[in-house]
Amino acid sequence: MTMFDIREGENKELILAGRFDASQVERARGVFLSLNEGKTVDFAQLDYISSAGLGVLLAAQKRLSQRGQSLKLINVNHHIRDVFRFSGFDQIFEIA
């Protein structure tokens, strides 16, 4: 099982990897809440996300939207795309 990881990529994008579950949210929360500008978040290496991970993304999106900024998600696999669709999050995030 891949460990959860969050790091900055070469083009200043955020890279999420592994499993973004309830036991991993604290570290991610710190990173997302420190964002002061819009970001591209690369999901290519992310295998799994639950409501705990969605909650962190939601909080970050809300905060950024107050400054007219937003998160843009790329390379989202179809499992995670389903989760976004079922939760209506596909309407509040730009998924490329």
Binding site: M1, R19, D21, A22, S23, Y48, S50, S51, A52, L54, G55, L58, A59, Q61, K62, S65, H79, D82, V83, F86, S87, G88, Q91, I92
Partner: protein
């Protein structure tokens, strides 16, 4: 006055001879190889009695000493001959020296030297022979150990690890009474069927072991393409008849189990009928036994059929089990065997085999057994083996990793596709973290159980001694179309679970809350 001179002379001669005898004695005590020992004797003996040459003749099993052999020393003057007699009074051979070098003939002094010499030689030869026997025995033991290892490696390992989804389980056990034995078993399977057999070669020792090896090889060679148990036994029997000693027979039982429907076709060649275990009922499997294999050039065995229901087991054994004896020379018996199998806590092959082995050992209580022991047990689970896994978890989010591990193992065993797995993983996390939020102080562990229920994966979580919480009614509704500013993370988890899974059931009993989520397997 010549006498003192002669005396001096005799005394000087005596010193030389005694010195030579001592030399010989030293040489003999350090030489354990019989051939080298004889060479030393021949060389040194001539020095002891001042002979031109000495020869030694040893008798053996092929050439025993004549019954009327002269057990006394003989002195013809030119030939001095002494029998070599061991500590048991057996004549091992003769030692003979010819032509005294220093005077006309051997005298009384030479006779006593020769007598002493023969005594030394007897001890040395006896010791060399015993050493050789001991070394031979050691080498034999070593060869036997090697043969035993080779023999055991011919059989598939009795402990078989199969995936949980396998439609059967199998376990085998073998213990030769001596290092090598005449019992055998074999099995192999493919998606369609499981083949298994057990056999017992009459007789013991190396002969039986060789026939065992041959029988095992024949069984495997024919079983690969001959799926009819009666024809298989006939083919093996014919080859054994052709290629072994007429006094060698092999009793055997073989079966082919259809893994899709539990149909068992079997055939018996003079072997103990196996036991068939159906729940708590243990019966001997009815079989019209044919002759042992190898008895006739051609023999037609009968195919018999039965159907194993899921959970049924067949237990094969050799008579070393039922004929195991104790100090009082009582036999273990089929009756005892049945009782032990009846009292097994389950019908898992490894349980039955280990319980019987332990019971036989308790019964025998260290009494050396005359016969080899072999057992083989097969349990049929049905083509759709009910897969169920459960584990308990502490009330801590760090347990999630283990929760996912359980889900992973279940899906590996159930071989269900990924789409379903993602939904079940998510559901497991969400209902687990939900319990942590709603009942954080509960003292008991939380059980998560996964099973196949028809075409559904069923995921249950039980919170023991917990306040009621019905996911159905109490999970707050979520409007997924609200704009970002109005979205809240609360309730999202259970909402997702209800969306992604097909059906939710809630059950409350004795203060325990169980929520079960179903997901149809496509």
């Amino acid at each position: 006055m010549t006498t003192p001179a002669v005396q001096r002379d005799t005394s000087a001669r005596s010193d030389v001879a005694l010195y030579a005898l001592l030399e010989l004695s030293k040489a003999l005590s350090s030489e354990f190889n019989l051939d080298k020992l004889l060479a030393v004797i021949v060389e040194k003996a001539s020095a002891v009695v001042e002979a031109e040459r000495t020869r030694i003749l040893l008798y053996d099993d092929d050439e025993p000493p004549p019954p009327d052999i002269d057990r006394n020393l003989t002195n013809t003057g030119s030939v001095l001959r002494a029998p070599v007699i061991d500590s048991h009074g057996n004549v091992l051979g003769l030692i003979e020296s010819v032509n005294k070098r220093t005077q006309a003939s051997f005298d009384a002094h030479d006779e006593s030297l020769m007598h002493a010499l023969a005594t030394h030689v007897a001890v040395a030869i006896e010791r060399a022979r015993m050493t050789k026997l001991h070394l031979d025995n050691q080498r034999y033991e070593q060869s036997l150990r090697l043969a035993s290892e080779i023999q055991m490696r011919m059989l598939p390992s009795g402990t078989v690890q199969l995936p949980d989804s396998a439609p059967f389980a199998i376990h085998a056990f073998i213990r030769p009474a001596k290092q090598i034995g005449g019992d055998l078993y074999d099995f192999f399977w493919n998606d369609e069927s499981l083949y298994f057999c057990i056999g017992d070669v009459t007789g013991k020792g190396i002969g039986a072991a060789l026939v065992m090896a041959m029988t095992k090889t024949l069984f495997r060679a024919y079983a690969v393409f001959q799926y009819d148990p009666a024809r298989l036994l006939s083919a093996v029997s014919a080859r054994l008849y052709e290629e072994t000693d007429p006094s060698m027979f092999v009793t055997g039982f073989c079966g082919f189990l259809n893994l899709r429907n539990g149909r068992l076709m079997y055939s018996n060649a003079g072997h103990e009928p196996p036991l068939i275990v159906r729940g708590k009922s243990v019966e001997r499997l009815v079989s019209k036994s044919g002759l042992p294999m190898g008895a006739l050039r051609s023999f037609k065995y009968v195919v018999e059929k039965t159907t194993l229901k899921p959970g049924d087991a067949v237990f094969l054994y050799t008579d070393g089990v039922t004929d195991a004896s104790n100090h009082a020379e009582e036999l273990y018996s089929v009756q005892r065997l049945r009782e032990v199998v009846e009292h097994c806590p389950d019908s898992e092959p490894s349980t039955i085999v280990s319980q019987v082995a332990a019971s036989v050992d308790r019964f025998a209580d260290g009494t050396p057994q005359a016969d080899d022991i072999a057992m083989l047990c097969v349990q049929y689970y049905g083509a759709q083996r009910p897969i169920e896994m459960a584990e308990t978890f502490k009330r801590d989010v760090s347990e999630l990793e283990d929760v996912f591990d359980l889900v992973n193992r279940f899906f590996a065993a159930a071989e269900v596709d990924d789409q379903v797995k993602y939904a079940v993983e998510l559901a497991a996390e969400e209902i687990f973290t939900n319990v942590l939020r709603h009942n954080p102080t509960g003292g008991d562990q939380i059980e998560i159980r996964l099973r196949m229920e028809g075409d559904d994966v069923a995921l249950s979580l039980t919170d023991f001694n917990a306040p009621p919480f019905d996911v159905h009614t109490e999970a707050p509704p979520v409007d997924v179309n609200k704009p970002l500013e109005e979205r809240k993370p609360g309730g999202l988890g259970l909402f997702l679970v209800k969306t992604m899974m097909d059906r939710v059931e809630y059950h409350r009993e004795n203060g325990n809350s169980t929520v079960t989520l179903f997901k149809r397997v496509k």
